[in-house]
């Protein structure tokens, strides 16, 4: 086992604990929670085995679901963003991604923000659509998506800045 695998495992467990023990209980203004755990999917190494990546995302989502009694909505949202991550990478980083040379620590802030926002937006849209489970409440779904996304994106950016290794 190399250090990268161990760090991924630690990240996986750490993010789940932070999510279920702290962030799920924030309920800002009654229903707004940040879902920081998707940072695992956002920051997963780009050179990867996609099958393993999809399975890991599903596992992450289903564990969050077990803790929040929500059926499979987190799992569905996680699998979706894991599947569409290459697309998001291409949209936000362009050709740099094609050569598979990007490191999340030293890309410019604008494209990183864009990348995080795309994945967070899609994740929350799927999540809240399945949670509300009612097309006649679309407005409520969009409202929840917007508010929670803002919260999550902010938190993700802050965490990536705090925990980024100094590039020398």
């Amino acid at each position: 086992m190399n250090s990268s695998v161990i760090s991924q495992i630690l990240k996986f467990i750490g993010l789940i604990l932070v999510q279920v023990l702290i962030l799920n209980h924030i309920n800002f203004l009654g229903y707004i929670n940040p879902y920081l755990y998707i940072l695992f999917i956002i920051l997963y190494p780009i050179k990867n085995n996609r099958l393993v990546f999809l399975l890991l995302s599903f596992l992450l989502g289903i564990i969050i679901d077990i803790f929040s009694d929500s059926g499979g909505i987190h799992a569905a949202a996680c699998v979706t963003i894991a599947y569409m991550r290459p697309l998001a990478l291409k949209w936000s980083f362009g050709t740099v991604y094609e050569h598979q040379t990007i490191k999340f620590n030293n890309v410019d802030f604008g494209s990183k923000l864009m990348y995080i926002s795309i994945l967070t937006g899609v994740h929350h849209l799927v999540l809240f659509f399945l949670e509300v489970f009612n097309f006649s409440e679309t407005l409520l779904t969009l409202q929840k998506t917007l508010f929670s996304s803002t919260f999550t994106i902010l938190l993700c950016v802050i965490v990536t800045i705090i925990f980024s290794k100094r590039s020398k």
Binding site: F58, G72, V79, Y83
Partner: protein
């Protein structure tokens, strides 16, 4: 066959995605129908154990709120005790203090309603616990209603949020009294009628029970004056009272029994017959 295999290998990511998505949707719809999902819930050994630990911590963190509630009630009881002592230290002996004339019993409100116009509460004690008709129901913050029917283990209570309810209430600073009713609109506001025009009232004054009925003792807090106006005949005030109780969030309450009620009622009936 070769082509099918090729297809599967070429699209293995997409197929896995579909499979996992279908699995998630299955779990989701299962929880949406009713609670029959076996392991995707927070009662299994992993999450249940973690939540038990978390709950221990949370209980500890919630102590502050619980303490505040308790100290609030303690303060109120301490004030009552002080007043009681003062009345004992007067020169004459007030024989009503020898025997407490009110008995309190803790009950739980098992059904609450506040959105209809005739709201009825239910409590978890009944005639087996000597609960009878016309006992009062209160919380530490105010009054809730009057017992209506009793069965062996349960009793129904006519809420003060019931358009039929009529309870005697008065101003705290003077002894002008009136009738507490409800117009059926807001669960936070009740109406106090028949306060004479001469009474010096202001917005923010406290309304308490008057003790003129045999149900509630005098001095239980009800609410504060939110607004007032003269009624159609311009002799009495119509006062909107905002309640101290949050009627939408009620769990623990007390039943009040007035031990001297039969005696007083007999006396009143005797006078009426003459």
């Amino acid at each position: 066959m070769q082509q099918i295999l090729n297809f599967i290998i070429r699209n293995k990511n997409f197929l896995l995605y579909l499979l996992l998505m279908a699995l998630s949707m299955f779990f989701t719809t299962q929880t949406h129908s009713y609670h029959k999902s076996k392991f995707i819930n927070s009662a299994n050994f992993l999450s249940g154990g973690l939540y038990t630990r978390l709950n221990n911590i949370e209980q500890y963190l919630d102590l502050k709120v619980q303490n505040d509630n308790l100290s609030e009630e303690n303060t109120r009881l301490r004030n009552l005790l002080q007043n009681y002592k003062v009345s004992r230290e007067e020169n004459f002996i007030d024989s009503t203090n020898f025997k407490g004339s009110y008995l309190f019993r803790p009950v739980r409100v098992i059904k609450n309603s506040y959105s209809a116009s005739a709201n009825i509460l239910a409590i978890n004690k009944g005639s087996n616990d000597s609960i009878q008709e016309d006992f009062g129901l209160i919380t530490p913050k105010g009054i809730l209603g009057i017992v209506d029917h009793t069965s062996k283990n349960y009793a129904t209570v006519i809420s003060i949020l019931n358009t039929k309810s009529k309870i005697s209430a008065q101003l705290k600073k003077t002894n002008h009294f009136g009738t507490l009713t409800w117009n059926g609109k807001s669960p936070n506001t009740v109406q106090l009628l028949d306060i004479p025009k001469i009474a010096p009232i202001e917005v923010g004054d406290t309304i308490i029970t008057s003790g003129r009925s045999v149900i509630f003792p005098k001095g239980l807090q009800i609410g504060t004056i939110a607004s007032f106006k003269l009624d159609a005949a311009e002799n009495n005030f119509e006062i909107n009272v905002s309640l101290f109780n949050d009627m939408t969030n009620i769990e623990h309450a007390y039943i009040i029994e007035h031990l001297d009620a039969p005696e007083i009622n007999n006396l009143l009936n005797l006078s009426n017959e003459q």
